[in-house]
């Protein structure tokens, strides 16, 4: 009778492995991957899903098995076996999880490096300064405060930098990102374009230099598996190279107020030709752009009503008029409190 039971165990083990391997690859839980980095992260996730599926089935299986096999039958008396432990077994179930988490750590470390997490140059000193430096642009807009001189090295923190192959090189496309309640503003300093949506050419390395005007926001592009907080007073960065043409959501992922949920725009990944066309069309309206840029820099949000402030972008971003109304309301408080703090 011993052989059949060990065969059952063996078969169960094989079955478990197969199911875990299959589910780890075919869970279909992630959205489209639009960059190589995203594919890397997915393979890490798949590996973790494989292990998790196995562990999940073992634990739930043991619980259900115990509930059926070791259930006290009506009228049954007596205790279970007086087993107080088993040192080799305990060592085993300490060592195996330890090995697994160590392996996941090393794997994550590698992927993180591949993504550009360790890029030493992304310390902020090299960033393109399309936007005024300083403790958040709310203050940048009122430079007469004077205690933060223009061009002084800003505090900077790393988000995700260049992948090892691209380290030390400047990104092909630089975009300055400003997060404010409840919108995103993208400025392309090299070509003098301001937009409410992020347009990037496929296959080119893009660097986002990000600042927040009021509170902490976070840029999240699920299809790139990238997220980075956008912090007032501290510049953060993201670098990535897309590999799939398409339109993807770009959402705020850090609670920033009542309309946090609607702080959503798009990232449009163009073919190189389309991208050039987009640039050309934007530059045609350069006049209008210059106007907006001037406003962005020269305006003190404490003096302007937020609705007025946002109006130029509202259209472009397809923000509903009711929302600007709400912004007006919310923003008045905001502007008011900034003003009071500045005083």
């Amino acid at each position: 009778m011993n052989i059949p039971s060990s065969i059952t165990t063996l078969l169960l083990g094989i079955g478990l492995t197969l199911v875990s391997l299959w589910y780890g690859q075919n869970h279909g839980l992630m959205p489209v991957a639009a960059s190589e980095g995203a594919t890397h992260i997915d393979s890490l996730f798949n590996a973790m899903m494989t292990i998790s599926t196995g562990l999940f089935i073992i634990v739930q299986g043991v619980i259900v098995y115990c509930a059926i096999k070791f259930r006290r039958k009506p009228g049954e008396l007596g205790d279970g076996a007086a087993i107080e432990g088993n040192v080799p077994l305990e060592i085993l179930w300490t060592a195996i999880p330890a090995a697994i988490v160590l392996w996941i750590s090393i794997y994550s470390f590698e992927i993180y490096n591949e993504m550009g997490g360790f890029d030493p140059s992304a310390d902020g000193m090299h960033a393109m300064h399309g936007m005024p430096a300083g403790k958040g642009s709310a203050m940048a807009a009122t430079m007469d405060m004077g205690d933060v001189p223009k061009g002084s090295p800003r505090i900077s923190a790393l988000g995700v930098g260049a992948s090892p192959a691209n380290q030390g090189k400047a990104a092909a496309v630089n975009v300055n990102v400003l997060g404010l309640q409840y919108a995103w503003i993208f400025t392309y300093p090299e070509i003098n374009i301001t937009s409410g949506e992020l347009h990037v050419p496929v296959g080119k390395e893009v660097q986002l230099n990000m600042n927040a005007q009021d509170v902490i926001h976070a840029v999240w592009i699920p299809q790139l598996r990238l997220k980075q907080d956008v912090i007032p007073g501290t510049e953060t960065q993201l670098r990535f190279t897309t590999n799939k043409v398409g339109t993807y959501p770009l959402r705020c992922a850090e609670l920033c107020g009542g309309y946090h949920g609607s702080m959503v725009t798009q990232m449009i990944v163009h073919t190189p030709e389309e991208y050039d066309t987009w640039i050309a069309s934007q530059q045609q309206s350069a006049q209008a752009q210059a106007e907006i840029v001037k406003q962005t820099i020269a305006m003190n949000p404490a003096n302007l009503s937020p609705a007025k402030y946002l109006a130029p972008y509202a259209n472009e971003m397809g923000v509903k008029p009711e929302m600007v109304e709400h912004l007006h309301h919310q923003g008045m408080e905001m502007g008011g409190s900034i003003a009071s703090v500045i005083k």
Binding site: D79, A81, E84, F118, G233, Q330
Partner: protein, 548 residues
């Protein structure tokens, strides 16, 4: 070997229920740890209902993509209040307040806690503070989430945020006072015959918990005091307008709040370690490993906090450090889970309600543990941080862990506290509704997060509506599931079948006195003759060994 326990002069009246207490005692500044334990539990449960109703409001809002039920900023205050109430006014008071207070002295053979007056003070801080927090609802409540990150928290209304800060400072004080009491009681009040290694595992769990309460809570107080200066006096510790560093607040906040998740779950690791051996009639598997793993978790729990900040501009090497420490916590946690499973294996399992909840605890907590390891992996966390994946994870540990742990303990010790049995059929109905409702509510949230739904949003993209509706229906089942529990518990506390003093034939000292225990717990101090988990038949053991 059958367990023996010598309690001199123990009268063995089995069916007599002695009512020492009248309901009025529960409204006094009583220093009896058992009264205080019940005060904590009932207070906590009332707040649980309030927090639960808020959760139902949140889920109802999320049944549709638009913000159509409440104003979006009201939505924000709803989840802020929900999170704050659930953590600080339900799980912490129920786990460390109710269970630890009621059980610790009984388990170690003491007549009361080390500092009974302090104990009463710690409790009486809670009801007025809770009321204050509820009151803020009518004065413009806090809206910045239970994490209250500046600068947002400095901009959403001074009154609500101010009350929120005061509330947390007071509840933190209560928690520190409790921690001092538990720590001292466990170390100093044991009967002389009980060595550390003979303590019930719940005591080990509480030792680990109380250390966290003492080390971590003061740092939260520091963060909150500085935050209140920024809020009220216009200083700039954290406010970037003026040169402050908002990220420093996050470090201080999580230095407390990560340990806080262990403050919320370690006591229930203890509860599960008590309940499983009794109802499986087997010794706990690997006593020393389970005891020490609590201490290891408590230590590691102090050095993982920045895993909540992988996208906060944290330097790369710090991210890697906190990734590895977080991963390592899976090892002692695994030791416990495997130990419990091995205890069940080969037992004579009595599948009653406490045992079902204990099995439910393992079943759901392990999912939270798995997603926890995933979240520790920095590249993956960068994708899912601040999404519904995290909401799913945190409820699998806080609900699937802590709340299931609370119910396990309530059903297990109900006969001890009331002297009566709680009805099994209704208990099982409660279990099934809770287990099903819980999984239907929270399992789909993993998918939502992976697919792109951030947390803390009142309006979401229409493509997420289907799964959100599933979650919402699940949450209604969950709400309904509390009704059979409440009715059953209240009815049986007065009308249930008398249970006698030790209906489970358990060996720990809490079961070796009358039910409910007399005012000073033991007539004569008990003397230990067996360990806490000396269940099991040696004959069975031999059978088992020859079979292998």
């Amino acid at each position: 070997m059958t367990a023996e326990l010598l309690i001199p002069n123990q009268t063995s009246e089995d069916d007599v229920v002695i009512h020492h207490r009248t309901w009025k005692d529960y409204f006094t500044f009583s220093t009896d740890h058992k009264v205080i334990g019940i005060q904590y539990f009932v207070t906590g449960f009332i707040f649980y209902i309030i927090g639960g109703l808020l959760a139902e409001g949140i889920r109802t809002e999320l049944a549709t993509p638009d913000a159509d039920l409440v104003d979006p900023s009201t939505y924000n205050s709803m989840f802020t209040m929900h999170g704050t109430i659930m953590i600080f006014l339900w799980i912490v008071p129920a786990g460390t307040g109710a269970f630890a207070n009621y059980l610790l002295p009984l388990m170690i053979g003491a007549r009361d806690m080390a500092f009974p007056k302090l104990n009463a003070v710690a409790f009486w801080i809670i009801p007025p503070t809770g009321l204050l927090l509820i009151l803020s609802f009518f004065l413009g409540p806090a809206q910045a989430g239970w994490t209250s990150y500046p600068p947002l928290s400095l901009l959403t209304g001074k009154v609500g945020e101010g009350i929120w800060i005061v509330t947390l400072l007071l509840l933190g004080t209560s928690s520190i006072l409790g921690g001092i009491n538990f720590f001292t009681t466990i170390l100093k009040m044991r009967i002389p015959s009980m060595s550390m290694m003979q303590m019930p595992l719940f005591c080990w769990a509480m030792l680990a918990t109380s250390m966290l309460m003492l080390i971590a809570t003061p740092v939260l107080a520091g963060a909150l005091i500085l935050l209140s200066f920024d809020l009220i006096a216009g200083t700039a510790f954290f406010n970037p307008v003026g040169g402050g560093e908002p990220v420093v607040y996050q470090h201080m906040f999580w230095f407390y709040s990560h340990p806080a998740v262990y403050i919320m779950v370690l006591p229930f690791f203890g509860v599960i370690s008590e309940v499983i051996p009794v109802h499986c009639r087997k010794p706990i598997f690997g006593y020393a490993a389970i005891a020490y793993s609590s201490m290891v978790i408590s230590f590691l729990g102090l050095i993982v906090w920045a895993h909540h900040m992988f996208t906060s501009g944290t330097p790369p090497w710090l991210r890697m450090f906190f990734m590895i420490t977080t991963m390592v916590i899976a090892v002692p946690t695994g030791i416990k889970i495997f130990g419990w499973l091995a205890t069940m294996w080969g037992g004579k399992i009595n599948l009653n309600t406490p045992m079902l909840f204990a099995m439910g605890f393992i079943s759901t907590f392990v999912i939270g543990g798995i997603t926890g390891v995933m979240l520790a992996a920095v590249p993956f966390d960068i994708h899912v941080h601040d999404t519904y994946f995290v909401v799913a994870h945190l409820h699998y540990v806080l609900f699937g862990g802590s709340v299931f742990g609370i119910y396990t303990g309530i059903y297990h010790w109900f006969p001890k506290v009331t002297g009566r049995h709680i009805d099994e059929t209704w208990g099982k109905i409660h279990f099934v509704l809770t287990y099903v409702g819980f999984n239907v509510t929270f399992l789909p949230m993993h998918v939502l997060g992976l697919q792109g739904m951030p947390r803390r949003i009142a309006m979401y993209a229409p493509e997420f509506q289907g799964l959100n509706q599933v979650c919402t229906y699940g949450s209604y089942v969950l709400a309904i599931s509390t009704v059979p529990f409440l009715v059953n518990a209240i009815y049986c506390a007065y009308k249930g079948k008398p249970a006698g003093s030790n209906p489970w034939n358990a060996l720990t000292l809490d079961w070796q006195t009358t039910s409910p225990p007399e005012i000073e717990n033991f007539e004569v101090l008990p003397v230990l003759k067996t360990g806490p988990y000396d269940y099991g038949d040696s004959e069975e053991e031999e059978k088992e060994l020859t079979a292998v």
